[in-house]
């Protein structure tokens, strides 16, 4: 069943939903990356909740004008307008009052959402509102998705991606170093607004599929996931778009494969699965890689310390050190060095003396900076340099250089 869904074999509606969800995920992942890099991810939560009153008011206005209250384009326009007002309120609160951004986000989010719920309740009591199904915008609903709905998502997503391509460099610079961006003459406030505008567009476009409560997940989880895999912002944007698109596609397919599986929440769970896999398995920034790196480092430290202790005839107290030395064939169980152990220990001690000379000599400054107590000296000095250092060591004490 899932295989059928993944191959778009589950019928017209499921195919429309899958295409729409993929494009939405792509746009959300890419747009969300800039928000994430700017460290303002939570603003998206305020934006999305601020769409609700607009949806309700647009419905009322359209009905009052004698039209069909459920016209998607009209509802989305209304939601965009109220999200924009929410965004301006947020900006005003942060700039003009002493409210910090997190508090301002909480205020805007809850007030707009509460107002939206009130309007929706009022609509429920209207004769024309009973069938409106506006509450489906809260968590998304793909059951009756039309071709026109999918077209709106596709066109909206394409415009969002095009704008991201156009603004990617200035938005990256603002996220990295806003002061420098100002000094370069970039309109930072307007770029920030453009970034928020993109996020708002994603939210509005995503209302139908994912809904306003969960769209935050599609804006935040893909960039965080992508960050595990790259150290370059342009690639993080690209990967994030990919993760978002893939989550949208797989999520839509899975939800179509069984009755009564909600599309939006499944998409979010799929993206979360990508996140967990990345968190654990990513090379470099992943948890597993971090643990392995630490264990390797600890082993090197213990071996080095053990060798230095052997060389100086000191007893080894740490059981771990002794165990590592034994396993490497450098010491016996009673803590006495083996033949190889003695040779390696002597070398370690000699290297330590050489390092002392290097670190005390201004001429070796660049090399001295590499000292970590673990490195073999021949990895940083040439044979001639080592000979020179050895001459300094060999010189009797007290004779100036």
């Amino acid at each position: 069943m899932i295989a059928d869904a993944l191959l778009l074999q589950l019928g017209y509606n499921a195919t429309l939903v899958a295409i729409g969800a993929t494009l939405l995920g792509l746009a959300a992942g890419a747009a969300g990356t800039f928000l994430f890099l700017r460290k303002r991810a939570l603003v998206s939560d305020a934006i999305s909740h601020a769409t609700l009153p607009g949806v309700g008011l647009a419905f009322i206005v359209m009905v009052a004008m004698g039209g069909d209250g459920r016209n998607l384009l009209g509802l989305l326009a209304g939601s965009a307008l109220s999200a924009w007002i929410g965004l301006l309120c947020l900006g005003w609160l942060v700039r003009r009052t002493r409210l910090a951004e997190d508090a301002a986000i909480g205020a805007v989010l809850s007030v707009f959402f509460g107002f939206g719920i009130v309007i929706l309740t009022v609509i429920q009591t209207m004769s024309s509102g009973r069938q409106a199904g506006l509450e489906s915008f809260l968590l998304g609903s793909t059951a009756g998705m039309l071709r026109a709905d999918a077209a709106i998502i596709a066109i909206g997503g394409a415009i969002i991606v095009a704008l991201i391509v156009l603004l990617r460099r200035p938005m990256t610079l603002v996220a990295f170093d806003a002061d420098f961006a100002v000094a370069q003459g970039l309109p930072v406030a307007r770029l920030d607004l453009a970034m928020m505008g993109l996020v708002m567009a994603v939210t509005v476009v995503g209302l139908k599929i994912v809904g306003l409560i969960l769209i935050v997940a599609l804006l935040i989880i893909p960039p965080v996931t992508a960050r595990f895999w790259s150290e370059r912002s342009d690639r993080v944007v690209l990967l994030s778009g990919l993760v978002g698109g893939l989550s949208g596609f797989v999520g839509a397919a899975v939800s179509a494969s069984a009755p009564n599986l909600p599309t939006g929440p499944i998409i979010v769970l799929v993206s979360f699965a990508f996140f967990v896999a990345s968190l654990l398995l990513a090379p470099g920034r992943g948890v597993l890689a971090e643990v392995l790196r630490h264990l390797r480092f600890r082993k090197r430290v213990h071996l080095r310390q053990g060798l230095l202790a052997l060389a100086q005839g000191q007893p080894i107290y740490e059981p771990l050190t002794l165990r590592l030395l034994r396993r490497a064939g450098l010491a016996r169980a009673d803590g006495v060095a083996t033949e190889t152990g003695r040779a390696r220990a002597a070398k370690a001690l000699r290297d330590e003396r050489r390092w002392q000379v290097v670190r005390g000599d201004q001429a070796y400054e660049a090399v001295a900076a590499l000292y970590d107590g673990l490195r073999d000296i021949e990895t940083v000095l040439t044979g001639d340099q080592i000979a020179e250092v050895d001459r300094v060591i060999g010189r009797p004490q007290g004779v100036p250089a």
Binding site: D177, D179, F180, A183, Q184, G185, E231, R232
Partner: protein, 269 residues
């Protein structure tokens, strides 16, 4: 004879233009966070082709002065002119090196990416990043001795290396006026040497350098001009005239420890 005349004429034509407009001229600048001015009614005239140090105790408004000059913080009053005109018209001639601590170094970027940011303005929105831009960025890294690190993630750099990357980014802008905020703060000796060498080479090319500086012991070695500030302007001029025990006392007041004064007395001769 004709040649000489042409040369003399050329000189006459270029020189007034240069001396008439200071690279950075500030008049009556006041900047305030809340109700307390960080910088109050400050005048400053930066001499062209020289290295100027902005000196003063902690919280004296040194960084704020620089940020206001660049339009990063909005002044309450005052006028800033760059090469004789408002800043907006001269952005491409001004390069800025912010404080290292002001940004998040875990940002996903390599060293070369940061330097390339200095070229974004020149690239515009639609310009493509070409091999020539990369070469230009590598050239700037070479000048600060960081070419070998170009592919490194910026979070892996030491403080001094980060500072050199920031300087390389400013070099990429190929500006005429360089404003640096504490370029020597918390850097190793090798970096300090590398940075000062680059700044001196900029001066030799006729560029103007202004740096917020905190190490009083090196002022005399590094700079031609000083600007002493403690909320208001205390003194301004060539190091020999303006960097004296009296002006320092006026700027630092009781905060200058006796040991420091002794050390400076020796440095000042």
């Amino acid at each position: 004879m004709t040649l000489e005349l042409a040369a003399a004429k050329g000189q006459r034509m270029t020189q007034p233009a240069q001396s008439a407009h200071s690279p950075l001229s500030i008049r009556g600048l006041t900047v305030s966070y809340g109700q307390k001015p960080a910088v109050f009614s400050v005048d400053m005239t930066v001499p062209p082709g020289a290295m100027t140090a902005i000196i003063g105790p902690n919280g004296a408004g040194k960084s704020t002065l620089l940020k206001a000059a660049l339009g990063i913080v909005k002044p309450l009053s005052g006028r800033v002119e760059v090469f004789g005109t408002p800043l907006a018209a001269q952005r491409s001639r001004v390069a800025y090196v912010p404080q290292r601590a002001s940004i998040d170094w875990d940002f996903p970027a390599r060293v070369i990416d940061v330097v390339l940011m200095g070229l974004y303005r020149q690239l515009g929105l639609l310009g493509r990043l070409r091999a020539s831009h990369k070469a230009q960025a590598m050239d700037c890294l070479e000048r600060v001795g960081m070419a070998d690190f170009s592919e490194r993630q910026i979070g892996q750099l030491s403080g001094g290396q980060q500072q050199r990357v920031f300087l390389a980014r400013a070099l990429a802008q190929d500006a005429d006026l360089y404003l640096l905020d504490e370029p020597f703060a918390g850097v190793d000796a090798a970096t300090e040497k590398a940075i000062i060498a680059v700044l001196k080479s900029l001066r030799e090319d006729g560029k103007t350098v202004v740096a917020v500086h905190h190490d009083l012991a090196t002022v005399r070695d590094y700079f031609d001009h000083v600007f002493l500030i403690n909320t208001t302007r205390i003194a301004e001029g060539p190091v020999d005239e303006a960097f004296t025990a009296e002006t320092l006392q006026a700027a630092y007041g009781g905060r200058l420890a006796t040991a420091q004064v002794d050390q400076l007395a020796r440095a000042l001769g």
